[in-house]
Amino acid sequence: MTTTFDPSALPQLQQQRIERPWRRKPPIFTWSVVLATLIPLAIVGWIYWSTDIPGAIVMTVIYLPLQLIASGVAAFATRGRRGILDSVIIVNAIGATLFTLIVLLSVIGSLIARGITAISAHFIYQNNVYVSPSTPLEYGGIGHAILGTVIIVGISMLIAVPIGVATAIYITEVRGRAVPYVRFFVQAMAGVPSVVAGLFILTIIVATGAFQQGAFAGGLAYAILMLPTVARTAEEVLKLVPEDLRTGALALGSTRARTVLRVVLPAARTGIITAIILGVARVIGETAPLLLAAGSADATVVNPFGGPIAAIPTYIFNNVALPYPDAVARAWASALVLIVLVSILFVLARVIGRGRLSSK
């Protein structure tokens, strides 16, 4: 019997999972896994509820070793001596994953639980002028800080996005001799600590006196942090633009500059937007540069050169350790606002970038 190749069946063939006979699990395997999970849990639960040993000790000193032994026995029963090390890795890997998830859930959960109490309509738009740390939550808000963050991030985008995209164009389009060096400097710049970026802007203020603490200075400090992220992401995106588009445009008589501006950049449009969003998400929660370069304020400030300005991170910073419950509630609420902003940017970047970046 001859079989002919049927192209229409190809997608289905590709969908099929590769058979790996050596990976088949005997039923005793499933049962030993279930028993090895349930028995230690039962013993630990009994110890925890019937004695008053602290939970942390029960988990680390009793549960983890017990689980390791149980899984080891189960692995030995099903696969012999070589299974024991595997079970150690699997138990620890699941443990590390749970540990990280618990930390993440604790952060997000506490933000929602403690932040929601101070959230209200006026909290989003009012400012802090007539508010002292002991003022009840019926008054005041972080409208001035949200506006300040928007202004500062806007200024840093105006500076960092064109330069960052130009850096990416240099690496992928102009392809000058200095490409390895430029990439190296961009990567080195990505490692500059945020507090150092703030100090740098501060020394410029002190040394030149050209401007003062405020939104412009804060935007400059943010731009230092944003530029490497924009440049590196934009570079990845421009690399995905097919070479044929460039050669095609050049063959039609377009100049190099026009090819980049009219063909390559439009083709990479959504990717560039992703790069900008990732850049904004990188800086929006940075506190140290703003403490040094932008200062803080209670009133609403709109002039970038008009002196110290508030922003969400510095507002949180100023309220965290105050001995007034309402001030602390405001800090939690503004942290919730900030994490919501970050999550929106994060999801936007994922949704916009999905089609283009997933082929990476």
């Binding site: 942390a56 890795i89 890997a93 130009a166 430029v182 063959a251 190099r256 403490l291 942290a335």
Partner: protein, 322 residues
């Protein structure tokens, strides 16, 4: 087809002979060197600020530990802070490296595909949590729990020197600060090591499995050696992040101007970045400000060295083009 082809290169030469192109190229080239200009600017501007510090303190500015600005003559030294930054980073790494490696092994080799995709998204989101929020969480949520853990550690393992605690105060310790740093490093190290482990050629994995290797032998002899360069680079990137971290550490570490060499659950420690922010609010004048700027210069140099080494390691393996 690439620009390495001679014909294409001629085409490029012909195209760049256009006048508008030359202007365009020049503008782009200038913009591309902004990164270098900023790095040089930071080095020069902050470097100049080390002059007053060294003039008044000499070398003891980086070899001693003190901060008495209002005495005459004032004494200042940041050794304890430099050492503290490294100590906190090491504590963070001790927690973060095993956690991140196990987490990426779970994501790449053990988890079902959908769970792995969800985990990847969650870990990336974790990387996006601003440090001020982690600081807020650590101050109110982690502190009481960590106090309890440390008390227990001291009670049962107090005979080990690093778990000594004479003061009975378990808040503001290097351990808590290092733990917060570990939480910031885990997503960074995980995302890099996950990428390199996921790029282990499936032929190699299948071959080793068909030869009868277990999960452990596969990891030990195939996946981990294959991804070693990328993993080390990721660890160094996390380290660079930890050394420069300011705000989260500010909330949980009590800054003391004595060197806390190894007592990680004793209240008090140091960190250059946190010193800068904690003193800046109550800076007493031009002189103290220049001392803080000088401290910032050494922080810049420290993180730059770590990052350059990290990027060289990652670039040498050449598998991670990010």
């Amino acid at each position: 087809m690439s620009l390495a082809d001679p014909e294409i290169r001629d085409l490029k030469a012909a195209a760049t002979s256009h006048r508008g192109d030359r202007v365009f190229n020049r503008i782009i080239t200038v913009a591309a060197f902004t990164a270098l200009a900023v790095l040089a600017g930071i080095a020069v501007f902050l470097g100049l600020q080390t002059i007053p510090a060294f003039q008044s303190q000499g070398l003891s500015f980086i070899t001693t530990t003190a901060w008495d600005i209002n005495t005459d003559p004032p004494t200042a030294g940041i050794w304890g802070m430099l050492y503290g930054s490294v100590l906190l980073a090491v504590i963070g790494l001790v927690i973060a490296i095993p956690a991140s490696l196990l987490l990426s092994i779970f994501t790449v080799f053990l988890a079902p595909r959908k769970l792995a995709a969800g985990l990847t998204n969650l870990i990336d989101l974790m990387a996006a949590i601003p440090s001020v929020i982690l600081g807020l969480w650590a101050f109110y949520i982690l502190n009481p729990t960590a106090e309890e853990w440390q008390r227990l550690l001291n009670q049962y393992l107090g005979w080990i020197p690093i778990f000594q605690n004479a003061s009975g105060n378990f808040l503001g310790t290097p351990f808590i600060a290092g733990f917060v740093l570990a939480i910031m490093m885990i997503p960074i190290i995980t995302s890099v090591s996950r990428e390199v482990l996921a790029r282990t050629p499936p032929e190699l994995i299948n071959a080793s499995e068909s030869l009868g290797s277990s999960l452990w032998t596969m990891l030990r002899y195939v996946a981990l050696p294959y991804g070693r360069g990328g993993i080390v680079g990721g660890i160094m990137l996390g380290l660079g992040r930890a050394l420069g971290e300011t705000i989260a550490v500010f909330f949980v570490l009590k800054i003391v101007f004595e060197v806390n060499w190894y007592q990680i659950i004793e209240s008090g420690g140091g960190s250059v970045a946190t010193l800068i922010v904690s003193r800046f609010g109550e800076v007493s004048g031009e002189f103290e400000l220049s001392l803080l700027l000088a401290a910032g210069f050494f922080l810049f140099v420290l993180t730059l060295v770590v990052n350059v080494i990290a990027n060289l390691i990652v670039a040498r393996t050449g598998r991670l083009q990010k």
